[in-house]
């Protein structure tokens, strides 16, 4: 025989459990449904499932992109930096891409400087004394579009998304601005955009490459130090150059598997 009070408690607990499970399922459903919904591109939004651009002879239908940085060709002109800032409306003081100058000095040390957007000519950076330097070279930095991207892994709300082409994008309508991805990127590429209040990063100018154009920095580079293209197209310049020279990636020991590869990288580059 049931006690009336016990019955009321039991009934209360039953209802409370039902409400809790119901509320919990509501939190799961939208994300599950969202994966099945067709992607609709709004004006101004990145075409995440856009048609792959036409490729040269021998390319597969699904594009596989890559980026090559040839440090032996970079002259630190800084054209790529301005092009990126203008193209992507990057706020002053923040960068989607930058160029570092490494100088091996004869005393065994390494000096590192940041190349200004104007290039070295006319900048406040003192020129290196040729008598002190063994070797100097420039290293452009941009997003590595890691296959195992730590920034993507840590995003709590699916605001970091990988495009079908393997490019790491940010859904600015979902980003909560927690900054966890900024902490997780080992390369310092991500930042909290001071104008928009959401995470920002280099996306290899996804909006341009979806239109069969080159990324702004590649187009602006006067020496061909930045090469973008399809890895799966043997006719592309990228594929041809990768076939002829050994390349390396940054911070390989972290296991992020970067898609951006470098020619002439030294181990002091972080």
């Amino acid at each position: 025989m049931f006690d009336v009070a016990e019955e009321s408690r039991r009934s209360f607990l039953k209802h409370a459990t039902t409400v809790t499970i119901g509320a919990f399922s509501l939190t799961i459903l939208p994300s599950t449904l969202a994966e099945d919904e067709p992607q609709v591109t709004k004006p101004g939004q990145l075409p995440i499932l856009g048609n792959p651009p036409a490729a040269g002879h021998g390319a597969s239908p699904k594009p596989v992109y890559g980026f090559l940085i040839d440090t032996t060709r970079c002259t630190g002109a800084g054209k790529c930096l301005t092009a990126c800032r203008v193209e992507n409306k990057v706020p002053e003081g923040q960068s989607r891409t930058w160029v570092e100058r490494y100088a091996h000095l004869k005393d065994g040390s390494v000096k590192v400087d940041l190349v200004p957007e104007t290039g070295y000519a006319g900048s406040e950076i003192p020129p290196l004394d040729a008598d002190d330097v063994l070797r100097a070279y420039f290293v452009p930095k941009l997003c590595n579009q890691c296959v195992e991207a730590p920034c993507n892994q840590v995003c709590p709300v699916h605001a970091s998304i990988k495009s079908p082409e393997g490019i790491e994008l940010i859904d600015t309508d979902r980003c909560i601005g927690c900054g966890y991805c900024v902490q997780a990127c080992p390369y310092g590429i991500r930042f909290m955009n001071q104008d928009t209040g959401v995470a920002d990063k280099c996306n290899w100018c996804y909006h341009r490459i979806m239109r069969n154009e080159q990324p702004a920095c590649v187009e602006a580079c006067p020496t061909g130090a930045r090469v973008f293209g399809r890895l799966d197209d043997p006719e592309s310049e990228l594929a041809k150059r990768l076939a002829t020279v050994p390349t390396e990636v940054l911070k390989q020991h972290l296991g992020t598997i970067p898609l951006t590869r470098y020619i002439g990288l030294c181990d002091e580059v972080t």
Partner: protein, 396 residues
């Protein structure tokens, strides 16, 4: 960066100039830690039957609830898009450690609410029946329609409280171990990336929770003009001492490990500790916050000859120093980990400001909020003085 033999001039990545995480992210684990720690004190009585802790058992769990209620405040103040905060629960990403926060936090909050409700149910029901007007209405709402406080019902409540207290221990460990994991799982940062981080955070969390309970208890005793129970104070001091030894040991082992291994980034961490964190790490966290309390706590913890006032003073001072230790530890992890660039060739400054959403004033308000809530809770529930439950019939 003179520490590395190959580096001559500092160089930082452009986006590293401004740390992305502010003092609010320092307060988040600080407050969460107190939640877990205060609950452990309560469980010591309810689960492990440490009778000496009976005077603070209920106070500890209500304190835990008040801190828990404020644990999301610093996060909301930090988020650049706080209006989307619920996305963490609406569209959580299973791969993200941070996505678990909403669920773990909500689960723990629910557990605390039910625990407190069960503990104070007899008092709530008694007042719901006896009071009229708005106060009566409030207690009738709080009673949630369950008005039975017969001995049979009380026995069931007692069993539920015991079960929740048992469940609460692993959940508290998950809650705060998880907070440590958020940092420990970031392989990009050598100052954070260690599997010891959850354990370090958990042990220091328990330490901070015990310290808060000691201070709240001493304050309320002084405020009410009653003497703190000697056995209770001794038990709390012993607990604090024991967990402080654990916390300091874990922190020490971690640093020793990094220093002895001397991996590639050691030169950055060595310089960080020797320059940017010299005061907050060397002076506050190690000397003032760890060594001094470790030395003075055995007095109130083990001596039976100390005068009551003297014993309480030693415990109180140690608790205050320990709270500074834990705050410094959070600061040194959260802010310290952002003071060097990921180039590992240069340091940046953290601009601490008075005003603004993430300024010192806002931080002080956030820290004061749980205490304000506790004051409010004491107005509604018979949390204090300890003997009040004898008349109100609350469950021990």
């Amino acid at each position: 960066m003179d520490g590395h033999p190959l580096h001559t001039a500092p160089f930082i990545f452009p986006n590293d100039a401004h740390p992305a995480w502010s003092i609010m992210i320092v307060l988040y684990p600080y407050i969460t830690g107190m939640v877990a720690g205060a609950f452990v004190v309560s469980s010591m009585y309810h689960v492990f039957h440490r009778e000496a802790l009976k005077p603070v058992a209920k106070l500890a769990v209500v304190t835990s609830l008040c801190f828990c209620a404020c644990a999301t405040l610093p996060l909301l103040l930090h988020l650049h898009q706080p209006q989307r905060a619920l996305n963490v629960m609406v569209t959580p990403s299973p791969s993200s450690a941070m996505a678990g926060f909403g669920f773990i936090y909500s689960g723990y909050m629910l557990l605390l609410l039910v625990d407190v409700w069960l503990m104070f149910r007899p008092a709530i029901v008694a007042r719901a029946r006896s009071l009229t007007g708005r106060w009566g209405q409030l207690y009738r709402v709080l009673a949630l329609g369950v008005l039975d406080i017969s001995p049979g019902a009380a026995a069931i409540d007692q069993r539920l409280i015991s079960a929740l207290s048992v469940l609460g221990i692993p959940v508290a460990c998950v809650l705060h171990g998880y907070v440590g994991f958020l940092f420990g799982a970031i392989k990009a940062n050598p100052w954070w990336s260690t599997s010891l981080m959850p354990v370090i955070f958990l042990s220091s969390a328990i330490v901070s929770g015990i310290a808060v309970v000691i201070l709240v208890y001493l304050f309320l005793c002084r405020w009410s003009g009653i003497e703190a129970e000697p056995e209770c104070m001794r038990a709390l001091s012993r607990l604090l001492w024991m967990f402080l030894i654990l916390a300091v040991a874990f922190e020490g082992v971690e640093l020793l490990h990094i220093a002895y291994e001397q991996e590639a980034e050691w030169h950055v961490i060595r310089e960080l500790l020797g320059s940017k964190l010299r005061f907050s790490y060397g002076i506050v966290q190690i000397l003032i916050g760890s060594l001094i309390p470790l030395l003075i706590l055995p007095l109130p913890a083990f001596s039976h000859r100390l005068a009551a006032r003297c014993r309480d003073s030693w415990s109180g001072v140690a608790a205050v120093l320990v709270l500074f230790q834990v705050l410094a530890m959070r600061w040194n992890v959260v802010v310290g980990g952002q003071l060097f660039s990921k180039s590992f060739r240069g340091f940046v400054d953290y601009p601490l400001t008075w005003w603004g959403r993430e300024g010192l004033i806002a931080a002080a308000v956030v820290l004061a909020m749980p205490l304000v809530l506790l004051f409010g809770a004491m107005k509604i529930l018979p949390v204090w003085p300890p003997g009040i439950d004898d008349h109100e019939g609350t469950i021990q």
